[in-house]
Amino acid sequence: MQSNSDCENSVEGFSRRIRLRTLRLIHEAKSSHIGSAFSMVDLLAILYTRILRVDPARPDWFERDRFILSKGHACAPLYVTLAERGFFPREWLDDFYRDGSRLPGHVTHTGIPGVEVSTGSLGHGLPIACGMALTGKRDGSKYRVFAMLSDGECDEGSTWEAVLFAGHHRLDNLIAIVDYNKIQSLGTVKEVLDLEPFAEKWRAFGWGVREINGHNMAQIEETLTRVPAEANKPTCVVAHTIKGKGVSFMENNLLWHYRAPDQEEMAKALVELGAEE
Protein backbone atom coordinates (compact mmCIF):
# COMPACT_ATOMS: atom_id res chain seq x y z
CA MET A 1 0.00 0.00 0.00
CA GLN A 2 2.17 2.86 1.23
CA SER A 3 5.50 2.15 -0.33
CA ASN A 4 7.23 0.22 -2.99
CA SER A 5 10.59 0.72 -1.36
CA ASP A 6 13.02 -2.09 -1.89
CA CYS A 7 13.05 -2.95 1.78
CA GLU A 8 9.32 -3.64 1.80
CA ASN A 9 9.88 -7.32 2.33
CA SER A 10 12.51 -6.77 4.98
CA VAL A 11 11.69 -6.69 8.65
CA GLU A 12 12.23 -2.93 8.53
CA GLY A 13 9.61 -2.76 5.80
CA PHE A 14 7.26 -4.91 7.83
CA SER A 15 7.77 -2.71 10.84
CA ARG A 16 7.14 0.47 8.83
CA ARG A 17 3.96 -1.04 7.42
CA ILE A 18 2.76 -1.87 10.93
CA ARG A 19 3.37 1.71 12.03
CA LEU A 20 1.55 3.14 9.04
CA ARG A 21 -1.45 0.89 9.41
CA THR A 22 -1.53 1.50 13.15
CA LEU A 23 -1.44 5.23 12.51
CA ARG A 24 -4.41 5.01 10.15
CA LEU A 25 -6.30 2.76 12.53
CA ILE A 26 -5.89 5.08 15.50
CA HIS A 27 -6.57 8.19 13.45
CA GLU A 28 -9.76 6.84 11.96
CA ALA A 29 -10.97 5.36 15.22
CA LYS A 30 -9.91 8.47 17.19
CA SER A 31 -8.52 6.10 19.79
CA SER A 32 -5.58 6.52 22.17
CA HIS A 33 -2.20 5.04 23.03
CA ILE A 34 -0.37 5.60 19.77
CA GLY A 35 2.79 6.44 21.71
CA SER A 36 2.67 3.12 23.56
CA ALA A 37 1.95 1.35 20.29
CA PHE A 38 4.84 2.85 18.34
CA SER A 39 7.41 2.15 21.05
CA MET A 40 6.92 -1.59 20.68
CA VAL A 41 6.35 -1.95 16.93
CA ASP A 42 9.94 -2.92 16.16
CA LEU A 43 9.85 -5.59 18.87
CA LEU A 44 6.58 -6.93 17.48
CA ALA A 45 7.94 -6.96 13.95
CA ILE A 46 10.92 -9.10 14.92
CA LEU A 47 8.78 -11.38 17.07
CA TYR A 48 6.26 -12.08 14.31
CA THR A 49 8.73 -12.41 11.46
CA ARG A 50 11.76 -14.03 13.06
CA ILE A 51 11.06 -15.46 16.49
CA LEU A 52 7.63 -16.81 17.26
CA ARG A 53 6.79 -20.32 16.13
CA VAL A 54 3.20 -19.70 15.19
CA ASP A 55 1.04 -20.79 12.31
CA PRO A 56 -1.72 -18.47 11.10
CA ALA A 57 -3.49 -21.45 9.57
CA ARG A 58 -3.53 -23.23 12.92
CA PRO A 59 -3.81 -20.54 15.59
CA ASP A 60 -4.62 -23.15 18.25
CA TRP A 61 -1.75 -25.50 17.35
CA PHE A 62 -0.77 -26.79 20.76
CA GLU A 63 3.00 -26.50 20.35
CA ARG A 64 2.86 -22.88 19.19
CA ASP A 65 4.81 -20.23 21.05
CA ARG A 66 2.49 -18.10 23.15
CA PHE A 67 2.64 -14.32 22.89
CA ILE A 68 0.85 -12.34 25.56
CA LEU A 69 0.44 -8.62 25.15
CA SER A 70 0.23 -7.61 28.78
CA LYS A 71 0.17 -3.91 27.90
CA GLY A 72 -3.21 -4.46 26.30
CA HIS A 73 -3.83 -0.76 25.63
CA ALA A 74 -1.24 -0.93 22.84
CA CYS A 75 -3.35 -3.46 20.94
CA ALA A 76 -3.61 -1.69 17.59
CA PRO A 77 -0.22 -2.77 16.20
CA LEU A 78 -0.82 -6.34 17.41
CA TYR A 79 -4.12 -6.49 15.53
CA VAL A 80 -2.35 -5.07 12.47
CA THR A 81 0.50 -7.55 12.80
CA LEU A 82 -1.83 -10.51 13.13
CA ALA A 83 -3.81 -9.38 10.09
CA GLU A 84 -0.56 -8.90 8.14
CA ARG A 85 0.53 -12.39 9.10
CA GLY A 86 -2.80 -13.77 7.93
CA PHE A 87 -4.41 -14.74 11.23
CA PHE A 88 -7.57 -12.91 10.17
CA PRO A 89 -8.72 -10.79 7.21
CA ARG A 90 -7.35 -7.25 6.99
CA GLU A 91 -10.88 -5.98 6.53
CA TRP A 92 -11.57 -6.70 10.18
CA LEU A 93 -9.25 -3.82 11.03
CA ASP A 94 -11.63 -1.34 9.43
CA ASP A 95 -13.99 -1.77 12.34
CA PHE A 96 -11.41 -1.25 15.07
CA TYR A 97 -12.92 0.56 18.06
CA ARG A 98 -16.29 1.07 16.37
CA ASP A 99 -19.80 0.23 17.54
CA GLY A 100 -20.39 -3.48 17.24
CA SER A 101 -16.76 -4.25 16.36
CA ARG A 102 -14.95 -7.36 17.51
CA LEU A 103 -11.74 -5.33 17.98
CA PRO A 104 -11.89 -3.18 21.10
CA GLY A 105 -9.26 -0.74 22.34
CA HIS A 106 -7.67 -3.26 24.66
CA VAL A 107 -6.47 -6.55 23.29
CA THR A 108 -9.20 -9.15 23.28
CA HIS A 109 -9.12 -12.85 22.50
CA THR A 110 -12.79 -13.46 21.87
CA GLY A 111 -13.18 -14.52 18.27
CA ILE A 112 -9.80 -13.13 17.23
CA PRO A 113 -7.38 -15.81 16.04
CA GLY A 114 -3.84 -15.28 17.24
CA VAL A 115 -4.70 -13.38 20.39
CA GLU A 116 -3.90 -15.66 23.31
CA VAL A 117 -5.16 -13.58 26.19
CA SER A 118 -7.29 -10.51 26.80
CA THR A 119 -5.63 -7.82 28.84
CA GLY A 120 -6.20 -4.17 29.51
CA SER A 121 -5.95 -3.99 33.23
CA LEU A 122 -2.22 -3.95 33.88
CA GLY A 123 -0.28 -6.60 35.76
CA HIS A 124 -2.26 -9.57 34.48
CA GLY A 125 -0.12 -10.85 31.61
CA LEU A 126 2.95 -12.14 33.40
CA PRO A 127 1.09 -14.32 35.93
CA ILE A 128 -0.88 -15.98 33.12
CA ALA A 129 2.35 -16.41 31.17
CA CYS A 130 3.87 -18.12 34.24
CA GLY A 131 0.98 -20.58 34.33
CA MET A 132 1.44 -21.42 30.67
CA ALA A 133 5.22 -21.70 30.98
CA LEU A 134 5.06 -23.90 34.06
CA THR A 135 2.56 -26.19 32.35
CA GLY A 136 4.75 -26.39 29.27
CA LYS A 137 7.78 -27.37 31.33
CA ARG A 138 5.94 -29.92 33.41
CA ASP A 139 4.39 -31.50 30.33
CA GLY A 140 7.66 -31.51 28.42
CA SER A 141 6.23 -29.27 25.68
CA LYS A 142 8.62 -27.28 23.55
CA TYR A 143 6.63 -24.08 23.32
CA ARG A 144 7.91 -20.83 24.77
CA VAL A 145 5.91 -18.03 26.32
CA PHE A 146 6.65 -14.40 25.48
CA ALA A 147 5.02 -11.60 27.43
CA MET A 148 5.26 -7.93 26.46
CA LEU A 149 5.01 -5.61 29.45
CA SER A 150 4.90 -1.88 29.77
CA ASP A 151 7.17 -0.09 32.19
CA GLY A 152 4.13 1.40 33.91
CA GLU A 153 2.75 -2.02 34.74
CA CYS A 154 5.93 -2.80 36.64
CA ASP A 155 4.31 -0.64 39.33
CA GLU A 156 1.82 -3.47 39.83
CA GLY A 157 2.45 -5.84 42.72
CA SER A 158 1.03 -8.73 40.71
CA THR A 159 3.83 -8.28 38.16
CA TRP A 160 6.44 -8.70 40.89
CA GLU A 161 4.61 -11.68 42.36
CA ALA A 162 5.05 -13.32 38.96
CA VAL A 163 8.67 -12.18 38.64
CA LEU A 164 9.42 -13.82 41.99
CA PHE A 165 7.57 -16.98 40.98
CA ALA A 166 9.23 -17.39 37.59
CA GLY A 167 12.70 -16.98 39.06
CA HIS A 168 11.98 -19.46 41.83
CA HIS A 169 10.62 -22.05 39.40
CA ARG A 170 13.37 -21.43 36.86
CA LEU A 171 10.94 -20.96 33.99
CA ASP A 172 13.52 -20.87 31.23
CA ASN A 173 10.78 -21.08 28.59
CA LEU A 174 9.44 -17.70 29.67
CA ILE A 175 10.61 -14.43 28.14
CA ALA A 176 9.39 -11.10 29.44
CA ILE A 177 10.03 -8.10 27.25
CA VAL A 178 9.63 -4.74 28.93
CA ASP A 179 8.87 -1.91 26.54
CA TYR A 180 10.80 0.61 28.60
CA ASN A 181 9.74 3.85 26.94
CA LYS A 182 10.13 5.74 30.22
CA ILE A 183 6.75 7.46 30.10
CA GLN A 184 3.65 6.25 31.88
CA SER A 185 0.17 7.60 32.29
CA LEU A 186 0.71 10.85 34.18
CA GLY A 187 4.40 11.48 33.79
CA THR A 188 7.81 9.95 33.34
CA VAL A 189 8.58 6.68 35.07
CA LYS A 190 11.30 8.49 36.97
CA GLU A 191 8.80 11.03 38.31
CA VAL A 192 5.93 8.65 39.07
CA LEU A 193 7.64 5.57 40.55
CA ASP A 194 11.23 5.15 39.57
CA LEU A 195 12.00 1.59 38.50
CA GLU A 196 15.78 1.95 38.60
CA PRO A 197 17.95 0.08 39.09
CA PHE A 198 15.56 -1.88 36.89
CA ALA A 199 17.68 -4.63 35.33
CA GLU A 200 19.25 -5.34 38.71
CA LYS A 201 15.80 -5.89 40.19
CA TRP A 202 15.03 -8.62 37.67
CA ARG A 203 18.47 -10.17 38.20
CA ALA A 204 17.94 -10.19 41.95
CA PHE A 205 14.71 -12.13 41.37
CA GLY A 206 16.59 -14.84 39.49
CA TRP A 207 16.18 -13.81 35.87
CA GLY A 208 18.70 -13.63 33.07
CA VAL A 209 18.54 -10.05 31.84
CA ARG A 210 19.49 -8.38 28.57
CA GLU A 211 19.28 -4.63 28.03
CA ILE A 212 18.88 -3.64 24.40
CA ASN A 213 17.93 -0.80 22.14
CA GLY A 214 14.32 -1.70 21.34
CA HIS A 215 14.58 -0.09 17.91
CA ASN A 216 17.76 -1.81 16.76
CA MET A 217 16.44 -4.65 14.61
CA ALA A 218 19.63 -6.69 14.56
CA GLN A 219 20.05 -6.43 18.31
CA ILE A 220 16.42 -7.34 18.98
CA GLU A 221 16.66 -10.37 16.72
CA GLU A 222 19.94 -11.56 18.16
CA THR A 223 18.68 -11.15 21.72
CA LEU A 224 15.36 -12.89 21.18
CA THR A 225 17.00 -15.69 19.23
CA ARG A 226 19.36 -16.46 22.08
CA VAL A 227 16.92 -17.37 24.78
CA PRO A 228 17.11 -18.27 27.53
CA ALA A 229 19.71 -15.59 28.09
CA GLU A 230 21.07 -17.67 30.97
CA ALA A 231 20.62 -21.38 31.46
CA ASN A 232 17.74 -22.47 33.70
CA LYS A 233 16.44 -18.97 34.20
CA PRO A 234 13.57 -16.96 32.79
CA THR A 235 14.69 -14.18 30.47
CA CYS A 236 13.91 -10.50 30.82
CA VAL A 237 14.64 -8.24 27.89
CA VAL A 238 14.68 -4.65 29.02
CA ALA A 239 14.09 -2.90 25.73
CA HIS A 240 14.98 0.76 25.88
CA THR A 241 12.47 2.38 23.55
CA ILE A 242 11.10 5.74 22.59
CA LYS A 243 7.46 6.46 23.19
CA GLY A 244 5.88 7.45 19.88
CA LYS A 245 8.93 6.20 17.94
CA GLY A 246 8.87 7.07 14.26
CA VAL A 247 6.96 10.34 14.29
CA SER A 248 9.08 13.22 15.54
CA PHE A 249 6.37 15.23 17.23
CA MET A 250 5.04 12.16 19.05
CA GLU A 251 8.38 10.97 20.32
CA ASN A 252 8.93 11.20 24.08
CA ASN A 253 5.72 13.17 24.45
CA LEU A 254 3.19 12.18 27.10
CA LEU A 255 0.37 13.78 25.12
CA TRP A 256 0.44 10.89 22.66
CA HIS A 257 -0.51 8.44 25.35
CA TYR A 258 -3.97 9.92 24.87
CA ARG A 259 -4.32 11.87 21.67
CA ALA A 260 -5.35 10.67 18.24
CA PRO A 261 -3.79 12.59 15.35
CA ASP A 262 -6.02 15.12 13.56
CA GLN A 263 -5.91 15.63 9.79
CA GLU A 264 -2.94 17.95 9.81
CA GLU A 265 -0.93 15.82 12.21
CA MET A 266 -1.90 12.77 10.23
CA ALA A 267 -0.49 14.28 7.04
CA LYS A 268 2.80 15.11 8.74
CA ALA A 269 3.04 11.68 10.34
CA LEU A 270 2.40 9.95 7.02
CA VAL A 271 5.26 11.87 5.44
CA GLU A 272 7.61 11.02 8.29
CA LEU A 273 6.71 7.36 8.04
CA GLY A 274 7.36 7.44 4.30
CA ALA A 275 3.88 6.79 3.04
CA GLU A 276 3.52 7.15 -0.70
CA GLU A 277 -0.04 7.90 -1.64
Binding site: F62, V117, G120, I128, M132, D139, S158, L164
Partner: protein, 317 residues
Amino acid sequence: MRGAFFRALLELAKQDERVHLVVGDLGFGVVEEFARRFPARFLNAGVAEQNMTGIAAGMALSGKIVFTYSIANFPILRCLEQVRNDVCYHNANVKIVAVGGGLAYGALGATHHATEDLAILRSLPRMVVVAPGDPVETEAATRAVTAHAGPCYLRLGRAGEAKIHSTQVDFVLGKAIEMHEGRDITLISTGGMLGTAMQVTDILYNAGVQTRLLSMHTVKPLDTAAIESAVRETGAVFTLEEHSVVGGLGGAVAEFLAENWETPLTFKRFGLPSEFSSFVGSQEYIRGRHGLSAEAVALGICAKLEKVQALASIAKV
Protein backbone atom coordinates in the same frame (compact mmCIF):
# COMPACT_ATOMS: atom_id res chain seq x y z
CA MET B 1 -16.49 -30.20 54.48
CA ARG B 2 -12.75 -29.70 54.07
CA GLY B 3 -12.03 -33.39 54.53
CA ALA B 4 -14.83 -34.35 52.15
CA PHE B 5 -13.48 -31.98 49.53
CA PHE B 6 -9.98 -33.44 49.67
CA ARG B 7 -11.27 -37.02 49.64
CA ALA B 8 -13.20 -36.27 46.48
CA LEU B 9 -10.35 -34.32 44.93
CA LEU B 10 -7.86 -37.16 45.45
CA GLU B 11 -10.27 -39.58 43.84
CA LEU B 12 -10.85 -37.23 40.89
CA ALA B 13 -7.12 -36.64 40.46
CA LYS B 14 -6.60 -40.39 40.30
CA GLN B 15 -9.16 -40.65 37.50
CA ASP B 16 -8.29 -37.55 35.51
CA GLU B 17 -4.73 -36.39 35.06
CA ARG B 18 -5.86 -32.91 34.08
CA VAL B 19 -6.81 -32.21 37.71
CA HIS B 20 -4.33 -29.83 39.37
CA LEU B 21 -4.24 -28.17 42.77
CA VAL B 22 -2.73 -24.73 43.32
CA VAL B 23 -2.65 -23.38 46.85
CA GLY B 24 -1.78 -20.01 48.30
CA ASP B 25 0.54 -21.33 51.00
CA LEU B 26 -2.35 -22.58 53.10
CA GLY B 27 -3.80 -25.98 53.89
CA PHE B 28 -1.43 -27.32 56.54
CA GLY B 29 -2.28 -30.93 57.29
CA VAL B 30 -4.69 -31.32 54.37
CA VAL B 31 -2.85 -30.63 51.11
CA GLU B 32 0.16 -32.85 51.79
CA GLU B 33 -1.39 -36.07 50.54
CA PHE B 34 -2.30 -34.52 47.18
CA ALA B 35 1.21 -33.06 46.95
CA ARG B 36 2.77 -36.42 47.76
CA ARG B 37 0.65 -38.46 45.39
CA PHE B 38 0.57 -35.98 42.50
CA PRO B 39 3.69 -33.82 42.86
CA ALA B 40 3.65 -32.74 39.22
CA ARG B 41 0.09 -31.57 39.57
CA PHE B 42 0.50 -29.68 42.82
CA LEU B 43 1.75 -26.14 43.20
CA ASN B 44 2.18 -23.90 46.20
CA ALA B 45 2.13 -20.45 44.61
CA GLY B 46 3.15 -18.74 47.83
CA VAL B 47 1.34 -15.92 49.59
CA ALA B 48 0.48 -14.25 46.32
CA GLU B 49 -3.15 -14.78 45.39
CA GLN B 50 -3.18 -12.51 42.35
CA ASN B 51 -0.34 -14.44 40.80
CA MET B 52 -1.87 -17.73 41.95
CA THR B 53 -5.09 -16.95 40.11
CA GLY B 54 -3.33 -15.73 36.96
CA ILE B 55 -1.19 -18.87 36.98
CA ALA B 56 -4.29 -21.03 37.39
CA ALA B 57 -5.85 -19.31 34.38
CA GLY B 58 -2.68 -19.86 32.35
CA MET B 59 -2.62 -23.54 33.30
CA ALA B 60 -6.30 -23.93 32.49
CA LEU B 61 -5.78 -22.26 29.11
CA SER B 62 -3.13 -24.92 28.54
CA GLY B 63 -5.65 -27.72 29.03
CA LYS B 64 -5.76 -28.34 32.76
CA ILE B 65 -8.56 -28.42 35.33
CA VAL B 66 -7.16 -26.23 38.06
CA PHE B 67 -8.37 -25.93 41.64
CA THR B 68 -7.12 -22.91 43.55
CA TYR B 69 -7.38 -23.26 47.29
CA SER B 70 -7.07 -20.87 50.18
CA ILE B 71 -9.10 -19.64 53.10
CA ALA B 72 -11.96 -17.20 53.44
CA ASN B 73 -11.60 -14.13 51.21
CA PHE B 74 -8.02 -14.71 50.07
CA PRO B 75 -8.66 -16.68 46.84
CA ILE B 76 -11.53 -14.43 45.75
CA LEU B 77 -11.42 -10.87 47.03
CA ARG B 78 -7.67 -10.32 47.16
CA CYS B 79 -7.52 -11.30 43.49
CA LEU B 80 -11.01 -10.37 42.38
CA GLU B 81 -9.89 -8.77 39.13
CA GLN B 82 -7.88 -11.86 38.22
CA VAL B 83 -10.97 -13.93 38.95
CA ARG B 84 -13.05 -11.69 36.73
CA ASN B 85 -10.67 -11.05 33.84
CA ASP B 86 -8.29 -13.99 33.79
CA VAL B 87 -10.69 -16.73 34.84
CA CYS B 88 -14.23 -15.69 33.92
CA TYR B 89 -13.55 -13.64 30.80
CA HIS B 90 -11.41 -16.43 29.37
CA ASN B 91 -13.90 -19.07 30.52
CA ALA B 92 -10.87 -20.75 32.07
CA ASN B 93 -11.47 -24.12 33.67
CA VAL B 94 -10.57 -22.92 37.16
CA LYS B 95 -12.36 -23.99 40.34
CA ILE B 96 -11.84 -21.59 43.21
CA VAL B 97 -12.16 -23.24 46.59
CA ALA B 98 -12.45 -21.20 49.77
CA VAL B 99 -12.49 -22.97 53.07
CA GLY B 100 -13.93 -20.97 55.97
CA GLY B 101 -16.98 -19.60 54.17
CA GLY B 102 -19.19 -17.46 56.38
CA LEU B 103 -18.15 -17.30 60.02
CA ALA B 104 -16.15 -20.53 60.21
CA TYR B 105 -13.18 -18.46 61.34
CA GLY B 106 -15.35 -16.39 63.65
CA ALA B 107 -12.80 -15.92 66.39
CA LEU B 108 -10.11 -14.79 63.95
CA GLY B 109 -11.87 -11.50 63.36
CA ALA B 110 -13.67 -9.68 60.57
CA THR B 111 -10.76 -9.97 58.09
CA HIS B 112 -11.43 -13.72 58.10
CA HIS B 113 -15.22 -13.55 57.83
CA ALA B 114 -16.22 -14.47 54.29
CA THR B 115 -19.65 -12.92 54.35
CA GLU B 116 -20.00 -11.14 51.01
CA ASP B 117 -18.49 -13.80 48.75
CA LEU B 118 -21.70 -15.22 47.34
CA ALA B 119 -22.94 -11.77 46.35
CA ILE B 120 -19.69 -10.79 44.69
CA LEU B 121 -19.01 -14.07 42.92
CA ARG B 122 -22.51 -14.53 41.61
CA SER B 123 -22.32 -11.17 39.88
CA LEU B 124 -19.46 -12.39 37.68
CA PRO B 125 -20.43 -13.66 34.24
CA ARG B 126 -19.90 -17.41 33.71
CA MET B 127 -19.16 -18.07 37.37
CA VAL B 128 -21.01 -21.00 38.93
CA VAL B 129 -21.42 -20.45 42.68
CA VAL B 130 -21.76 -23.47 44.92
CA ALA B 131 -22.09 -23.61 48.70
CA PRO B 132 -22.68 -27.22 49.76
CA GLY B 133 -24.62 -27.86 52.94
CA ASP B 134 -22.72 -30.76 54.45
CA PRO B 135 -19.86 -33.18 53.75
CA VAL B 136 -22.05 -35.37 51.54
CA GLU B 137 -23.03 -32.44 49.33
CA THR B 138 -19.39 -31.31 49.35
CA GLU B 139 -18.11 -34.55 47.85
CA ALA B 140 -20.82 -34.47 45.22
CA ALA B 141 -20.21 -30.77 44.51
CA THR B 142 -16.49 -31.38 44.02
CA ARG B 143 -17.27 -33.98 41.38
CA ALA B 144 -19.89 -31.73 39.78
CA VAL B 145 -17.63 -28.67 39.45
CA THR B 146 -14.88 -30.85 38.01
CA ALA B 147 -17.25 -32.12 35.36
CA HIS B 148 -18.43 -28.60 34.53
CA ALA B 149 -16.24 -26.94 31.91
CA GLY B 150 -15.73 -23.38 33.13
CA PRO B 151 -15.24 -21.21 36.21
CA CYS B 152 -16.74 -22.35 39.51
CA TYR B 153 -16.60 -21.12 43.06
CA LEU B 154 -16.87 -23.72 45.78
CA ARG B 155 -17.56 -22.26 49.20
CA LEU B 156 -16.76 -24.68 51.97
CA GLY B 157 -17.37 -24.38 55.67
CA ARG B 158 -14.73 -25.78 57.95
CA ALA B 159 -13.60 -29.22 59.02
CA GLY B 160 -15.69 -31.67 60.96
CA GLU B 161 -19.29 -30.65 60.27
CA ALA B 162 -21.85 -33.37 60.82
CA LYS B 163 -23.37 -35.13 57.85
CA ILE B 164 -26.95 -34.03 57.26
CA HIS B 165 -27.66 -36.39 54.38
CA SER B 166 -27.69 -39.99 55.48
CA THR B 167 -27.12 -41.35 51.98
CA GLN B 168 -25.55 -40.20 48.74
CA VAL B 169 -27.45 -37.37 47.14
CA ASP B 170 -28.68 -36.83 43.64
CA PHE B 171 -26.57 -33.72 43.12
CA VAL B 172 -26.99 -31.59 40.02
CA LEU B 173 -25.52 -28.09 39.74
CA GLY B 174 -28.36 -25.58 39.74
CA LYS B 175 -30.93 -28.00 41.12
CA ALA B 176 -32.06 -27.68 44.75
CA ILE B 177 -32.42 -30.76 46.94
CA GLU B 178 -35.70 -31.12 48.79
CA MET B 179 -34.80 -32.14 52.31
CA HIS B 180 -38.29 -32.09 53.77
CA GLU B 181 -41.77 -31.88 52.34
CA GLY B 182 -44.19 -29.28 53.70
CA ARG B 183 -47.25 -27.33 52.60
CA ASP B 184 -47.30 -24.23 54.80
CA ILE B 185 -44.01 -22.50 54.06
CA THR B 186 -40.70 -23.07 52.27
CA LEU B 187 -37.33 -22.53 53.90
CA ILE B 188 -34.41 -22.29 51.48
CA SER B 189 -30.95 -22.79 52.93
CA THR B 190 -27.51 -22.55 51.41
CA GLY B 191 -24.11 -23.64 52.65
CA GLY B 192 -23.35 -24.59 56.21
CA MET B 193 -26.70 -23.39 57.57
CA LEU B 194 -28.30 -26.63 56.44
CA GLY B 195 -27.99 -28.21 59.87
CA THR B 196 -29.67 -25.22 61.46
CA ALA B 197 -32.33 -25.29 58.77
CA MET B 198 -33.13 -28.91 59.66
CA GLN B 199 -33.56 -27.91 63.29
CA VAL B 200 -35.78 -24.98 62.28
CA THR B 201 -37.90 -27.37 60.29
CA ASP B 202 -38.31 -29.65 63.32
CA ILE B 203 -39.18 -26.79 65.64
CA LEU B 204 -41.76 -25.46 63.24
CA TYR B 205 -43.24 -28.90 62.71
CA ASN B 206 -43.76 -29.27 66.42
CA ALA B 207 -45.38 -25.85 66.46
CA GLY B 208 -47.78 -26.88 63.72
CA VAL B 209 -46.05 -25.27 60.72
CA GLN B 210 -45.34 -27.73 57.92
CA THR B 211 -42.07 -26.62 56.33
CA ARG B 212 -40.68 -27.53 52.96
CA LEU B 213 -36.90 -27.37 53.21
CA LEU B 214 -34.73 -26.88 50.16
CA SER B 215 -30.96 -27.16 50.19
CA MET B 216 -30.00 -24.58 47.58
CA HIS B 217 -26.39 -25.68 47.22
CA THR B 218 -26.01 -23.79 43.95
CA VAL B 219 -26.63 -20.07 44.32
CA LYS B 220 -25.85 -19.49 40.66
CA PRO B 221 -27.44 -20.68 38.46
CA LEU B 222 -30.39 -20.45 40.81
CA ASP B 223 -33.03 -23.18 40.74
CA THR B 224 -35.90 -20.86 39.88
CA ALA B 225 -38.22 -23.76 39.09
CA ALA B 226 -37.94 -24.98 42.67
CA ILE B 227 -38.62 -21.47 43.97
CA GLU B 228 -41.60 -21.10 41.71
CA SER B 229 -43.09 -24.39 42.92
CA ALA B 230 -42.39 -23.37 46.48
CA VAL B 231 -44.32 -20.13 46.14
CA ARG B 232 -47.18 -21.72 44.27
CA GLU B 233 -47.52 -24.65 46.64
CA THR B 234 -46.62 -23.11 50.01
CA GLY B 235 -47.18 -19.36 49.60
CA ALA B 236 -44.40 -18.22 51.92
CA VAL B 237 -40.64 -18.26 51.31
CA PHE B 238 -37.78 -17.76 53.76
CA THR B 239 -34.07 -17.88 53.00
CA LEU B 240 -31.26 -18.79 55.37
CA GLU B 241 -27.56 -18.20 54.80
CA GLU B 242 -24.36 -17.48 56.69
CA HIS B 243 -23.76 -14.44 54.54
CA SER B 244 -24.76 -10.82 54.36
CA VAL B 245 -28.43 -10.37 53.55
CA VAL B 246 -27.20 -8.17 50.71
CA GLY B 247 -26.89 -9.99 47.43
CA GLY B 248 -26.44 -13.61 48.47
CA LEU B 249 -29.04 -16.37 48.40
CA GLY B 250 -31.72 -14.10 49.85
CA GLY B 251 -30.90 -11.39 47.37
CA ALA B 252 -30.99 -13.82 44.47
CA VAL B 253 -34.35 -15.26 45.53
CA ALA B 254 -35.74 -11.77 46.14
CA GLU B 255 -34.69 -10.65 42.66
CA PHE B 256 -36.44 -13.60 41.10
CA LEU B 257 -39.62 -13.20 43.14
CA ALA B 258 -39.88 -9.45 42.66
CA GLU B 259 -39.83 -9.83 38.90
CA ASN B 260 -41.90 -12.96 38.58
CA TRP B 261 -44.59 -12.85 41.22
CA GLU B 262 -47.62 -10.60 40.99
CA THR B 263 -49.58 -11.50 44.09
CA PRO B 264 -48.62 -10.52 47.62
CA LEU B 265 -46.14 -12.94 49.03
CA THR B 266 -44.66 -13.62 52.44
CA PHE B 267 -40.89 -13.46 52.19
CA LYS B 268 -38.00 -12.85 54.54
CA ARG B 269 -34.23 -13.24 54.40
CA PHE B 270 -32.32 -14.62 57.37
CA GLY B 271 -28.65 -13.81 57.21
CA LEU B 272 -26.06 -11.42 58.58
CA PRO B 273 -26.43 -7.65 58.67
CA SER B 274 -24.17 -5.76 56.28
CA GLU B 275 -21.73 -4.90 59.05
CA PHE B 276 -18.27 -5.77 60.24
CA SER B 277 -18.55 -7.78 63.38
CA SER B 278 -17.56 -5.61 66.33
CA PHE B 279 -17.00 -8.66 68.50
CA VAL B 280 -15.31 -11.98 68.09
CA GLY B 281 -16.46 -15.42 68.98
CA SER B 282 -17.00 -18.92 67.75
CA GLN B 283 -19.08 -19.53 64.66
CA GLU B 284 -21.95 -20.63 66.89
CA TYR B 285 -21.65 -17.58 69.08
CA ILE B 286 -21.63 -15.04 66.27
CA ARG B 287 -24.52 -16.79 64.54
CA GLY B 288 -26.46 -16.53 67.76
CA ARG B 289 -25.70 -12.84 68.20
CA HIS B 290 -27.13 -12.23 64.75
CA GLY B 291 -30.31 -14.21 65.27
CA LEU B 292 -29.22 -17.24 63.29
CA SER B 293 -29.82 -19.89 65.94
CA ALA B 294 -32.51 -22.41 65.03
CA GLU B 295 -34.85 -21.03 67.69
CA ALA B 296 -34.39 -17.43 66.62
CA VAL B 297 -35.01 -18.27 62.97
CA ALA B 298 -38.10 -20.31 63.83
CA LEU B 299 -39.42 -17.43 65.94
CA GLY B 300 -38.68 -14.97 63.17
CA ILE B 301 -40.61 -17.07 60.69
CA CYS B 302 -43.62 -17.35 62.99
CA ALA B 303 -43.56 -13.63 63.67
CA LYS B 304 -43.59 -12.93 59.97
CA LEU B 305 -46.44 -15.38 59.51
CA GLU B 306 -48.27 -13.75 62.46
CA LYS B 307 -48.75 -17.20 63.91
CA VAL B 308 -49.30 -16.16 67.48
CA GLN B 309 -49.95 -19.59 68.87
CA ALA B 310 -46.93 -21.11 67.17
CA LEU B 311 -44.79 -18.26 68.47
CA ALA B 312 -46.00 -18.86 72.00
CA SER B 313 -45.38 -22.59 71.77
CA ILE B 314 -41.80 -22.14 70.53
CA ALA B 315 -41.08 -19.42 73.06
CA LYS B 316 -42.25 -21.78 75.83
CA VAL B 317 -39.78 -24.43 74.71
